[in-house]
């Protein structure tokens, strides 16, 4: 019954569906299913006028952003914040690449290979980023520039390629 109720609620779109109408369609027993779906955060029950209405999560978001002025303002603020983050991100990437490349040349052996763990310590200290952020950036950088970097297996930490830990890197 849960899936049938969920399908009906989703098909009701941004307007939602009256709880009473659902009870008419699926019987009074549907209350238990509705509670379960609410707990699973698959549906939202809220007042519209004097009646209880039911929405799917996405549709409820659209509903409040159209009808609730407070939510509209908050939503715009979040969007502005997002755009600011997007604007600053490229600069962060450039900084990372500069420090990353510099560290490779400083740490590398005569063959050009450098352990990612040593580079990580250096770059994280300079840019004040976490280990996860460092390896996420390294993965993106290596993936986007396969002709500029070469990785090699081994080491205690690094990035995973072909299911193998690659803990060494060099610039080509």
């Amino acid at each position: 019954m849960n899936s049938q109720i969920l399908e009906k609620v989703e098909s009701s779109g941004v307007c939602g569906i009256k709880k009473a109408e659902l009870k008419k369609l699926f019987g009074a027993d549907c209350e238990v299913s509705l509670d379960k779906l609410v707990k699973e955060e698959k549906i939202i029950v809220d007042n519209k006028g004097v009646a209880h209405y039911v929405w799917s999560k996405d549709n409820y978001l659209s509903h409040v952003s159209q009808n609730d002025p407070k939510f509209k303002i908050l939503s715009n603020l979040v969007k502005n914040l997002e755009s600011k983050i997007l604007q600053t991100k490229p600069q962060e990437n450039i900084d990372f690449k500069i420090h990353f490349d510099k560290s490779i040349s400083e740490i590398s052996s005569s063959l050009g290979w450098a352990p990612l763990s040593d580079i990580r310590i250096k770059v994280c200290q300079i840019l004040n980023i976490t280990q996860e952020q460092f390896y996420s950036q390294v993965s993106s950088l290596v993936d986007a520039n396969p002709s500029k970097y070469e990785t090699s297996t081994g080491g205690q930490e690094g990035i995973h390629v072909r299911g193998m830990l690659h803990g060494y890197i060099r610039r080509l």
Partner: protein, 534 residues
């Protein structure tokens, strides 16, 4: 069974590590360059010693350091199998197969690493040398060949006696031979020759024995066969026993020999930590073979094509087919890092050729690759694909995508058509030149979509600014673009990445061919949602 490209057999090796037979073919510019460097080193040494007795200055060290699966072993075995160069004799030794690494086990592996023919040739030359000495009146040499008074009476020549031993028709007395060798050669040389002539082996008790015998071997290969000896040690690790042996071998300066050490960057670093003394010696190698870029897509393509070219000497595998296969490999490698490695690409192509034969395909088609990946890498999927685009379709789309903006515009228009058909939206019959598509959602909201997907991002930025000016004509403006721009209050910016474009183009192909089935229609809805069409 007929294989693709008219091949009679599968040219790609199936074993995860190459064999000498597989290594006869060597493709790829980087690998060829590495081969030429090694051959150059050997030739230069050969020239230096060809008209004199070799000494301790006639020793060279080469290192090959590269990641697993990049073709190092293949290169080493290829050098060993070079038939065109008659001036080298090579022993290939995989150090990972020796345990424990004692002087004796290492020596035995080196001996096994040479080809049998080389020892047979050496044995023959040496027995003829004894014969020469016997003919000049050396009684010990005569005894060694078992030449008796009776033989003389019967008219048997010394040469015939020597040939009988060479062709195993007669045996040689171990004791007499030992006496002969003891009188003419040093202890180590005598031991090596005794073993070669009688096809036997004896114990190596210490490092001095090991070096002495290797030096004797190299001396015989040089003096009797006119060859430089190449010792190839693969899988060099940082274990004490390996490093102790390598250090001693470098220090021993075995005349007329080249020592080629093969390892990975990780183990090379381990050696640096474990034994700086050995590391310093490796750093001073005469040649450091750098296979940088050995796993680049261009290199992989060259290697892959070389196998078929070698196997199919006819015109069957023509330029067009080569170009076609190269494009497919490029798409595969770009999308799946799993294949960006010599070993991996050879493996997948081996399976693809077999699959092609089963499907009776005349070439490695997209469908063949799809089937191969399904069987060999069942977990492999196109990253970020909502439409679950099959790999065959993905390769086709990637190879045929021309002007992306035009194709994405068509795909978006058809996505709205589809949403209209299933009742999610209502498409406008009056087009507006400012937008690519116009429609209304179920609440009557008038929506306009503009697709801005040029490669020139600066131009995209300008186009988007112009489109935004027309936002007043609609209640909601959606801009679909590949350019990263800040969110705007006047328009919903939807950034589409490569996987989203592939999804859209795949949907468009299916929609125009009327081939959308039920599970796919659900995915289309999801796709439409992710780009804010519904």
């Amino acid at each position: 069974m007929t294989y693709p490209y008219g091949l009679k057999s599968n040219p790609y090796p199936s074993s995860p590590t190459p064999t000498e037979h597989d290594a006869k073919i060597l493709g790829g510019t980087k690998h060829q360059e590495a081969k030429h460097s090694i051959v150059e080193c050997i030739s230069e040494l050969y020239k230096q010693i060809s008209r004199k007795n070799s000494d301790e200055n006639d020793f060279r060290l080469i290192t090959v350091v590269q990641d697993v699966g990049s073709g190092k072993t293949h290169l080493a075995l290829h050098i060993k199998t070079l038939k065109t160069r008659q001036d080298i004799v090579t022993a290939y030794v995989d150090l990972s197969t020796i345990s424990p690494k004692t002087n004796e086990s290492i020596y035995n592996s080196i001996i096994r690493g040479f080809s049998r023919e080389m020892f047979a040739e050496l044995r023959g030359k040496f027995l003829m040398q004894i014969c020469d000495k016997a003919q000049k009146g050396d009684n010990l040499a005569k005894k060694a060949l078992g030449y008796s008074f009776l033989d003389r009476l019967k008219g048997v020549t010394l040469k015939q006696k020597a040939e009988e031993i060479i062709y195993d028709k007669n045996t040689i007395s171990q004791d007499v031979l030992r006496s002969y060798l003891g009188a003419h050669y040093s202890q180590h040389e005598a031991a090596v020759l005794q073993n070669i002539i009688t096809n036997s082996s004896d114990r190596i008790t210490n490092l001095d024995d090991l070096h002495g015998r290797l030096a004797a071997l190299c001396k015989f290969f040089h003096n009797l066969l006119g060859k430089v000896t190449l010792f190839e040690f693969d899988e060099l690790d940082a274990q004490d026993s390996s490093l102790e042996f390598v250090k001693s071998l470098i220090n021993a300066h075995i005349p007329a020999s080249v020592l080629l050490l093969i390892t990975t960057p990780s183990l090379y670093m381990d050696i640096q930590r474990a034994n700086p003394s050995v590391f310093d010696r490796l750093e001073k190698a005469n040649y450091k073979i750098d296979l940088a870029g050995a796993n680049s897509v261009d290199e992989l393509i060259e290697i892959a094509i070389e196998y078929i070219k070698e196997a199919s000497k006819t015109e069957r595998f023509n330029k067009k087919e080569q170009h076609d296969l190269a494009a497919k490999i490029r798409v595969l490698c770009d999308e799946f890092p799993e294949f960006r490695n010599v070993r991996s690409i050879i493996n997948i192509l081996n399976h693809a050729i077999e699959q092609g034969a089963e499907l009776d395909a005349s070439e490695i088609t997209e469908a063949v690759i799809d089937e191969t990946i399904k069987h060999t890498y069942p977990g492999l999927k196109i990253k970020g694909s909502i439409m679950e685009v099959p790999i065959s379709e993905f390769i086709k789309i990637k190879r045929t995508t021309g002007t992306t903006q035009t194709q994405v515009k068509e795909a978006i228009a058809n996505l709205v058509n589809y949403a209209h058909e299933i009742g999610n939206v209502s498409k406008s019959s009056k087009p507006n030149p400012s937008f690519d598509v116009m429609y209304s959602d179920p609440f009557g909201t008038k929506i306009g979509i503009a697709v801005v997907m040029n490669d020139d991002h600066a131009k995209n930025f300008e186009t988007i600014s112009n489109v935004v000016k027309s936002s007043a004509f609609v209640d909601k403006l959606i801009i679909i673009t590949n350019t990263s721009i800040p969110a705007s209050n006047l328009a919903t910016i939807v950034n589409v990445d490569k996987s989203k474009v592939t999804d859209l183009l795949y949907f468009n192909n299916k929609y125009t061919e009327h081939k959308l089935d039920e599970p796919e229609s659900e995915r289309v809805k999801m796709l439409a949602k992710t780009i804010s069409v519904i």
